[in-house]
């Protein structure tokens, strides 16, 4: 168990920048992102003894992190919508052919359940299997959400385009 504790603390410190960016992608605010990472770390340190297989440490922690992020969104629903409304000049980032620079913004605007999958797969290099573990949903569902996300972002090229 002590080994697992050391593994966890080492992992928390080593990958903190990753955690921060994941959290930031949900809350879009440095203070809040740090709070989310901090409270996820707190929960992990309180509950790590429930992990049965150390190999699941990473997906287990990402699950806590994502849940913390989603919790934050739920608690602050009103504020976020208001902010977004002010910042966006009514231009739909999901409209087809969003330009290169807008793609990241467009990903951030996706519904959370799709955003999580794109984020973890393309930015955090997780396999669909790992994402299924993080989100606790079936691997096939992960796959179909991933494609529906890519479609929304118009990232799927027609076969004949070079």
């Amino acid at each position: 168990m002590q080994q697992l504790y050391q593994q966890l603390t080492a992992f928390l410190l080593a990958d903190q920048q990753h955690f921060y960016r994941v959290a930031y992608s949900y809350c879009h605010n440095p203070e809040n992102a740090m709070d989310i990472v901090q409270s996820a770390a707190c929960k992990a340190l309180e509950k790590y003894h429930t992990i049965r297989e150390p190999q699941y440490l990473k997906t287990w922690f990402y699950r806590i992190l994502i849940n913390e992020s989603l919790d934050f969104l739920r608690r602050n629903k009103k504020e976020i919508i208001a902010e977004d409304f002010l910042e966006e000049d009514h231009h739909d980032p999901l409209s087809s052919q969003a330009d290169y620079l807008d793609l990241y913004q467009a990903i951030l605007q996706l519904p959370p359940n799709i955003k999580t999958i794109i984020l973890l797969h393309y930015f955090e290099d997780m396999t669909l299997r790992q994402i299924a573990e993080v989100t606790q949903i079936n691997e096939n569902t992960v796959k179909s959400r991933l494609y529906s996300g890519l479609k929304k972002l118009s990232l799927i090229l027609k076969e004949d385009t070079p």
Binding site: M34, L45, Y100, Y122, Y147, L155
Partner: protein, 290 residues
């Protein structure tokens, strides 16, 4: 299907450029410092399981030796501590697990071939069999109701309901052997049942309160209980006992449950809700015999 990797790479670069505040590291170190490594308490379930397993193994080993080798059994009989232990022991330990719900049983028996021990063992066997069957029935009923009211099978399996039938020796000396068999459901206080056995080892009879306290046992016990109730409510004003009019305590009788404690005194037991509000739990009154 082809995916536009170029644009994804660009988005990823943008993502990786999100600046991470330098304070984050200090914050995390602080969180870690607040949660130093602590040897975790063993999860309850595993603990009981391994404990029962160890106990069962020891007892099997012990019983085998005692049964196989009469001279050791006789020798053990004369070692003060070990000798008495052979008088009540686990004859059966088993688990039954369905849908992640467990019925665990530690069934005791008293040794000896006297009519008394045979009759006690038959009673214990009946108590255990009856409670196991009832527990299984409760689990089945609960499952049916749970599923019928919108619960899923998966959620049901996560309930981890347990029924434990176990025993506890409350007194074991040259004079008395007293033990209690309990049947407890972990999801409801309503299904807790106790069965007390008190045996006088010198006469080889089940002892009554009358045997210990004398012919005046009812008056002696009643007075002592009334006095202890008053002391307890005086010491803590959140406690209260039902009055006799409310269906609370009025008098004990020959059938009142009791066990004998280490000191050799009888302890009268009232199940939760019988003499006091449920939150006060089971009420016990030690009657000091003169």
């Amino acid at each position: 299907m082809k995916i536009d990797q170029t644009r994804l790479q660009q988005a990823r670069q943008q993502y990786e450029q999100i600046p991470v505040p330098p304070q984050l590291n200090a914050k995390l170190e602080q969180v870690i410092a607040q949660h130093p490594y602590q040897k975790p308490a063993a999860p309850k379930k595993t603990f009981y399981r391994s404990l029962s397993a160890i106990a069962a193994t020891c007892l099997v080993a012990c019983l085998t030796i005692l049964n196989v080798n009469p001279s050791i059994a006789q020798a053990v009989e004369h070692i003060p501590l070990l000798g008495t232990i052979t008088r009540v022991c686990t004859v059966q330990t088993w688990f039954s697990q369905t849908d992640n719900n467990t019925i665990s049983v530690n069934q005791p028996a008293v040794d000896g071939s006297s009519a008394l021990s045979q009759s006690i063992n038959a009673q214990i066997e009946q108590f255990v069999a009856q409670h196991t069957a009832e527990a299984q029935q409760r689990l089945d009923d609960y499952k049916e109701a749970f599923l019928a009211t919108g619960g899923t099978m998966e959620e049901w399996q996560q309930r981890n309901l347990q029924v434990n039938i176990d025993y506890n020796i409350t007194c074991q000396n040259d004079r008395y052997l007293s033990f209690v068999i309990t049947s407890i459901d972990n999801w409801s206080n309503a299904y807790t049942d106790h069965y007390y056995y008190n045996i006088d080892l010198q006469t080889n009879h089940q002892i009554t309160l009358q045997d210990i306290l004398g012919d005046d046992y009812i008056a002696i016990a009643n007075a002592s209980i009334q006095q202890q109730m008053q002391e307890r409510t005086a010491a803590d004003d959140t406690l209260s006992y039902f009055t006799a009019d409310q269906g609370g305590f009025s008098t004990i009788d020959a059938a009142t449950a009791f066990y004998i404690n280490q000191a050799g005194n009888p302890v009268i037991v009232f199940e939760p809700y019988t003499v006091a509000p449920g939150f006060m739990g089971q009420q016990e009154f030690e009657i000091i015999s003169k």
